[in-house]
Amino acid sequence: MVISDELVAQFRAMALERIERVEHAWEQVLTTLDDDASRSIQREIHTLKGESKIVGFTDVNMVCHRLEDLLDVARARGYAVDDDFDLAVTIALRFMVTLVKKRSGAHVAGIDLPGFVHQLDSVLKRHEHTGRSRTGSVPPALRATSLVRLGSTLRTTLGPAAVDAFIEYAVSRGPRRDRLRSSWHLLRDLVGIQRAVISAEQLQKHRASVGALAQDLGKQLDVRFEVETAEVTTEVLAALDVATLHLMRNAVDHGIESPEARVAAGKSAAGKIVLRARTHADHYVLAIEDDGGGIDFARVRARAIELGLLPHEARVDDARLVDLMCHPGFSTRTAANEVSGRGVGLDAVRGGALDVGGNVSATSVAGKGTTWTVTVPVMPLTVQGHAIRAPGLRFPVVLGEPWKLMERPMVSVVVDLGVALGLAPSNSISSTIWGFTNGELQLGLMCGGKPMPVQARTLVKTPPTAFGEVVTVDAVEGMLVRPERIPGVTGR
């Protein structure tokens, strides 16, 4: 088949645009949580592969194919790829640019396609059999299943160690840097904050599941979602996801009555479930409300006594009974069926919420319905402050709230952060002194250049008593310092 010059020119222009979009999306997917970017990469490369075949660019087709293999590995690992892998994808994309351009008349006869494909194959081989080494960003759906994560308490405890590892890596050189990078990335995987976005789209997947369940149980259902999108950690997302799954299934199984019973009770034949999720101050609140028969608290109490969780004479309120319902193994069903009765669901809801510092509650009115509420704290994932370049430190340093840049500094203490952190003394850049205050203390910091206002993203969280955290500033890893916590800086 003869391909017209016009068609080739059209392909070339579109291909270059596609590659540019993929390059952008690749950076995005490695530095932020962005499922759209991940999908965009897949779509663009697959389309480019097909288009290149049509117009006879078999070399582009071949590299696309290898790139798809590489991207499959990256996706399967939740984009937890190391720097070499990142480099391989980056080079492959640029190589395709060269291939796409080559027929425009420029002299590039020396392209070594087999050699390049061999390089990609060796990267692929190396990474297909190695464990993860980095988590830059991982789509939430993948993270939940692919990462071994530490509990939040242990993560907080290990946070300062991760900060130390980052500093050592960031100031090291030569082969030592390679070694320390691995250690830092390992710790970052284990204790670093992984971001996710909770949204209607994220929770809507449960709609089909409860719809099918309702059908199996011969019930009719009207489900509504009102979800405010928010950035949370993957742990919070996982907790809310588990809560949605179990609470909605419970609502269908235990709450919503049969159509006949509902009509007899003067209700519509279809039961209503409304899921509301929104941010309230520094918490995210998920409420699942149904208009079913309500919780039979007398039955809950009787079952709790039967299971030995309550003494016969105990006087307890509804809140305590709700608490007992979340006890491991508690179920008002005496025999388990496919849907419930094992006493696992509410235990999982509460366990997930407690793991992230949240809680679960319920209110119920007999014959009117039940509302389950899961409240989880949402930690701030960004920090407003000023970024400085400290002499001798190769990463941005951020001073966050409450530290502010002083307009007319009058400071008696001048700090070289590199020295204060016990690193090599500055030996290079010309520094100027800029004043900062937290309201109580005033410090002069040696800075290479003017401090710039930034919004940093928290990467490794530490307790407020630690001297710093790891953050990213425009995707560059750096450090948030708390000068008042650095030994010696303020006379401590």
Binding site: D83, T90, R177, R394, I429
Partner: protein, 126 residues
């Protein structure tokens, strides 16, 4: 004559560029090219390419032996540089000899792949 070209705007003592024309055109990069160095490296590549064209340079040696780390966005600047050379008319193109350190993982893989872009223009010396 040796001309010291500090990577502009970075003011980072650990990533430097030193250009020498004493014994052929040799660009010696040292240190660690983190993402923060990307813009500075791009600016330097652009300025240096123009300078090499102006001088009618035939061969450029890029000595990366002491670059212990290069982030992908920085490496992309090297790829863009190759692209610039390829865009030149044949008689204006200068050859690029990469002097590397194969014991560093990023160089072992990255430079070999870079050479595949144009074997007539680029060669790698271990």
């Amino acid at each position: 004559m040796a001309v010291l070209l500090r990577v502009p705007e970075v003011e980072d003592p650990d990533f430097t560029a030193e250009m020498s024309y004493a014994d052929g055109a040799v660009l010696r990069l040292t240190g660690s090219a983190d993402r923060a160095s990307t813009r500075a490296l791009a600016d330097m590549v652009s300025a240096l390419h123009d300078e090499l064209c102006r001088r009618g340079t035939r061969v450029l040696v890029i000595d990366l032996y002491d670059v212990d780390y290069m982030a992908a966005p920085c490496f992309r600047q090297l790829l863009a540089w190759v692209d610039k050379v390829q865009e030149l008319d044949r008689e204006q193109q200068y050859k690029i000899r990469l002097r590397g350190n194969p014991s560093l993982a990023w160089q072992a893989h990255g430079l070999a792949a870079l050479a595949c872009f144009d074997t007539e223009l680029i060669s790698v010396e271990a």
